[in-house]
Structures are given as structure tokens and as C-alpha cells.
């Protein structure tokens, strides 16, 4: 039997599989929350989710709708504050940060501030929030994005959250903590990582039913396409059941 699923469901499943068990993870609003919750119910039962306003180590039984909601410290190990959360990241205790954004460039820099010029924007977006802190301090970051050429752009209108900035070594030159940076991008079409020599985004695996050409056509810059491109497994029946029945039964996102 072939199960049907949406692009969003698939994206959440692929993101969820990236969570390492017993790792500390900074979780942003929206899709990252669903992915963290799915991971904690499947491959990463000992995940330690950290939310920017102070929720730490929650058992994710109900989907948080905001980064300060009580669900972010439900049966948690600590209900702290924003300084504690950010300082924990700054001193190197947070392994992964899961983020979203309106635009991403080949070096994984993210924009969530403006489309157009900062002082006379075409569109004013919400702002950094904790995004910049997460992208600065977490050991590895994972961006989760809708995939189209308006979002995957050669140059973001505003570097809100640092990826690899202008390429290899640029983070360290800017003063950002050594050994940190973007690890993956999970989109509605594919999974990407970064070429270790150039820090340029590289196609790693396409989603089921998506061709390499389709990914290229929907990317506003030249992706590195290696000879071997993998394919992500479709959502399992169990992953879909968890998503639909336990994680987002009200279908706020999926």
C-alpha cells in the first residue's frame, strides 16, 4: 500500500531523523518543534530540547505553539530564563540549533529581517528573535525551509543569522566560536549539507519523487551536485501516524 503524504510531512520526517539521541537542541518556533517532537518519539527519546525563553528538557507531549509556552517546560528539567538559555549556548553546551528563515544563501546565511533595503523595506519580517544567537553559538545548525528560488537565493537581503558568512574561515575571522556552523538544510524538496572545503551548499539527498533537476530549478544559486545523490526514505506509516494523531492532531502545520 502506498501511503500519501504532504511535502511538509516529508520535510518534518527528514528533519526529525537528523536529531541525535541524548543531544541538546535549541528549537525554534514552528516546523522545528514538530521535528523535535517526532524525533523524541522515535529515534531520539533522550533528546534535550531547549527553548529560548528558558524551557529545558521538556517531555514534548503536546506541540508547543510558542517558544515560551508552558509546553516548552512540561515535565522539564528546568524552567529557567532567556539569559540562561542563551548563555548555555554561548558556553558550548548546545549541540544543535534548528531554525527557519525567509531566505537562505549558499553559505547558509539566513534572513528573517527584511525583504529589500533595511531602511525602506519592501517587506518587514519579524526579526532575529533568538535566531542569531542560535546560529552563532550552537555547534551545528539545521535550517528547515520551503524550497523555491525566492527563498534559496545567491545573496540574502539581510544576514540575520550567520551561516558560513562569506565562506570558509569567515565565521572564525568574525569572532564567532570556533568549530561552529551550519550542518544541514532540510527543504520541501531535498536534504542539503555543505562542502567542507568551500562551505558552499551541496545536494545530499532528494526526497522521493523529486528529481535533481527539479531541485536545481528551484534553487536561485548553483548548488554543488555530487556524482552520488542519495534519496531520502518516505515517511513510514508510524511516522505519519505520530505526526497526524499525536503531534499535530489539530493540523496547525501539516
Amino acid at each position: 500500500m502506498t501511503e500519501t503524504y504532504s511535502k511538509t510531512e516529508l520535510m518534518i520526517c527528514v528533519a526529525a531523523r537528523l536529531f541525535e539521541d541524548a543531544s541538546t537542541c535549541f528549537i525554534g518556533t514552528g516546523i522545528p518543534m514538530l521535528a523535535a517532537m517526532l524525533a523524541s518519539k522515535t529515534t531520539a527519546p533522550n533528546l534535550v530540547p531547549i527553548f529560548e525563553f528558558g524551557g529545558m528538557g521538556a517531555i514534548l507531549e503536546d506541540l508547543p505553539r510558542a517558544v515560551g509556552e508552558a509546553r516548552t517546560f512540561h515535565k522539564g528539567i528546568a524552567a529557567a530564563g532567556i539569559c540562561e538559555a542563551m548563555e548555555t549556548a554561548q558556553r558550548g553546551f548546545i549541540d544543535y540549533g534548528f531554525l527557519g528563515g525567509a531566505q537562505i544563501d549558499p553559505y547558509g546565511n539566513l534572513n528573517s529581517v527584511v525583504i529589500g533595503d533595511h531602511n525602506h523595506p519592501k517587506a518587514r519580517l519579524p526579526g532575529s528573535g533568538g535566531g542569531n544567537d542560535v546560529g552563532s553559538h550552537c555547534w551545528k545548525t539545521v535550517a528547515i525551509m520551503q524550497h523555491d528560488a525566492r527563498r534559496f537565493v545567491s545573496k540574502v537581503d539581510f544576514v540575520t543569522t550567520p551561516g558560513y558568512l562569506s565562506g570558509r574561515g569567515a565565521r572564525e575571522s568574525a569572532g564567532l566560536p570556533r568549530g561552529t556552523g551550519p550542518a544541514y538544510v532540510v527543504s520541501t524538496l531535498a536534504l542539503m549539507d555543505y562542502d567542507p572545503d568551500t562551505c558552499w551548499m551541496r545536494l545530499k539527498a532528494t526526497h522521493p519523487g523529486v528529481t535533481v533537476e527539479e531541485v536545481i530549478a528551484n534553487t536561485g544559486f548553483k548548488l554543488i551536485v555530487p556524482q552520488e545523490v542519495g534519496q531520502n526514505a518516505p515517511p513510514s506509516a508510524e511516522e505519519l501516524r505520530l505526526l497526524r494523531e499525536e503531534i499535530d492532531p489539530e493540523r496547525m502545520y501539516i
Binding site: 525563553f53 515560551g68 509546553r71 524552567a79 532567556i82 542563551m86 529581517v113 517587506a123 552563532s136 544576514v159
Partner: protein
């Protein structure tokens, strides 16, 4: 220490640490005085046109919504605001009260971008947006709370967030690494909603502390609203839970369901349906105005607002609260 880079953003609230110390010495009474008053009185006494104002935590979580609505009702103008915010700052933006923003995040969380922010900024009604990360703005308050002029951080480096902030990058004189210095933020007035306070302003909260401790210590005036006003003996029984001592506080307002339609950990959950009313209404300027007319100007105070929402709804929110397990 050489300055390697300076953000081009305006320092919206210049500060003088000795003046702040003097303020804390002369304008903040150490006497245990009854500070209980209405939202109307507190806002009229301590919030003024052009002041630099902040709210804690944010518009859907332990947020001083009854005070935020009163600010709109009294039409306090030309506000300079630091913000992470959701509904509270959206209301101010929609009402045209905000002149300058130290902005970290203003949006509608799972409902996406804020239309009120878009209209206010894209039209030029908000004169300047100075960018910060959530960490940076909290450390700015922490610096003020510590009584020092800045804190160093490794946030914001290398980005446009730094470029459009008022931070500066220097080489740390001890280790030689580059750090961003974020300036102390001393606010003229802040609004904070807590679980319980006594009549003097000793305040306790449950759940995450957000940036309550920092913002209360970074402000010249603190207006506190509380779900419950409790006898001082209750505070003294659990002194370990006091996050804000009375001498920081200028006004104490009794505001049950003061965070509505947001939540209050262990007391009531969020009113998602009511939040969506704003999400929809705020898509147009007319819709936002109609919302303000009904839910802010159409009621004279918080009690009337709660009557408008209705007991049935509020009971449902209580049912939906986070429960201690």
C-alpha cells in the same frame, strides 16, 4: 581597546550609569508602602508620551496585556519600545503609538508575520528599527541590572544584525578574540505580569522566568500586574521564589487573567480562538482599528474586557492550563 566595527543603528536610549544610581538612591523608596492601584492610575502616573518602555515576557505568555491595553486606551504616544512581542506590541503598532523600536522579534508566532508591524514600518510611521538578537537585548538589560555600561557577547558577529544594531566590535584585551559589546539598556518604564505579588510589590512567578529579573532591574519605573495579591506573609514563607523585590516596583495592579488571550503557566492556558481574532482582524488597518474599538476602547477597564470575553471562555482557558504532574 580599538573599535573594530560600529553598528549604524541609533542608540535609542542613551544612558548615564551614575544618574541611574542616583535615581535608584533618591526616587525609589525603601519604605514598605501600599502600591496597589488600578491599571488606569498606574499607566497615567508612570507611562508618558515619548518614554522608553518595555514589556515582559511576550504577547502570548505571561504578558501584561491588561496594562498594554490601558496604554492604548490612554493613547500614550511616540513610544520608544524594545521588543520582542506578539499581541501587546502589535496593539501599540496598530494604534500608531510606536516611534522607535529596538527590535528583536515582533510577529504572530505560528501565525506568521505581523501585518501591524509591516504597515507601521513599511509606511515609515516607525521612524527607526534598530536590530538586536533576543540574547543581545536581554544582555543589554542584564548590563543595566548589573550597573555596568555594556556586556560582551559572541552573538551578532559578522552579520547585518550587528551592522544595523548599536553594538560595537572590539578585540578582547585579555584573549585577543573579537567580541561584540552591547550597551546597557535602562528603560524609563516597564510592564511585567506575575503570578503573585504583595501590596508592596514583592513578586513571584512560576514557570520560565523569561527576562523578568533583568528588565525589572534595568528600569526606572516598574508597573507590576499580578494574578493574585497575597499577604506579605505568603511572600516571606517562600522568599526563595521572589524574583522582583518590592523596592524595584512603583505600582501593583491586581489583574486576574491579566495575560489573556495569552497564557499563565499553571493558572490558565492560551485562548487560541481569541488570538486568531487578532490574527485575522489585523490583516488590514481597518480590521485592526475595529478590534481596538471593540476590545480596548469599547471597554473602560480590564474588568469590562473580561466580561466581554465571558466567564465560559475564561473557564475553558483554566481547563487548558499546564498542570503540575
Amino acid at each position: 581597546m580599538d573599535i573594530l566595527e560600529s553598528g549604524v543603528g541609533e542608540l535609542i536610549q542613551p544612558f548615564d550609569l551614575d544618574e541611574f544610581r542616583e535615581w535608584n538612591r533618591t526616587k525609589k523608596s525603601r519604605k514598605l508602602e501600599d502600591k496597589v492601584m488600578s491599571e488606569q492610575e498606574a499607566v497615567s502616573r508612570f507611562v508618558y508620551d515619548g518614554c522608553y518602555i518595555g514589556t515582559e515576557l511576550y504577547g502570548s505568555v505571561r504578558c501584561p496585556m491588561s496594562l498594554a491595553r490601558e496604554v492604548v486606551r490612554q493613547n500614550k504616544k511616540d513610544l520608544r519600545v524594545c521588543g520582542q512581542g506578539v499581541l501587546e506590541l502589535d496593539l501599540w503598532l496598530a494604534a500608531g503609538l510606536v516611534k522607535k523600536l529596538d527590535i528583536t522579534y515582533i510577529g504572530l508566532e505560528l501565525h506568521g508575520t505581523s501585518s501591524a508591524l509591516r504597515r507601521a514600518v513599511e509606511s515609515g510611521q516607525v521612524e527607526s528599527c534598530v536590530e538586536w538578537s533576543n540574547g543581545a537585548i536581554s544582555w543589554r538589560m542584564k548590563a543595566a541590572a548589573m550597573g555596568v555600561p555594556f556586556l560582551p557577547t559572541r552573538s551578532m558577529l559578522g552579520t547585518d544584525t550587528l551592522k544595523y544594531s548599536a553594538a560595537k566590535v572590539v578585540e578582547d584585551p585579555f584573549t585577543g578574540v573579537k567580541v561584540a559589546l552591547v550597551p546597557a539598556l535602562i528603560l524609563d518604564v516597564v510592564l511585567i505580569h506575575v503570578h503573585r505579588a504583595d501590596k508592596y510589590g514583592n513578586a513571584q512567578i512560576e514557570g520560565i522566568s523569561g527576562f523578568g529579573a533583568e528588565i525589572a532591574r534595568a528600569a526606572k519605573r516598574v508597573i507590576l500586574s499580578a494574578e493574585e495579591i497575597v499577604p506579605t506573609e505568603e511572600i516571606r514563607k517562600y522568599p526563595d521564589r521572589t524574583i522582583i523585590p518590592y523596592y524595584l516596583v512603583d505600582a501593583v495592579v491586581h489583574a486576574p487573567f491579566g495575560s489573556h488571550p495569552g497564557e499563565m503557566a499553571y493558572v490558565y492556558g492560551r485562548d487560541e480562538a481569541e488570538s486568531k481574532v487578532w490574527v485575522e482582524a489585523s490583516k488590514t488597518a481597518e480590521g485592526a482599528q475595529a478590534y481596538l474599538d471593540k476590545f480596548v476602547h469599547g471597554v473602560k477597564d480590564h474588568d469590562e474586557y473580561l466580561k466581554l470575553i465571558g466567564d465560559e471562555r475564561l473557564k475553558q482557558c483554566v481547563e487548558l492550563r499546564e498542570k503540575r504532574v
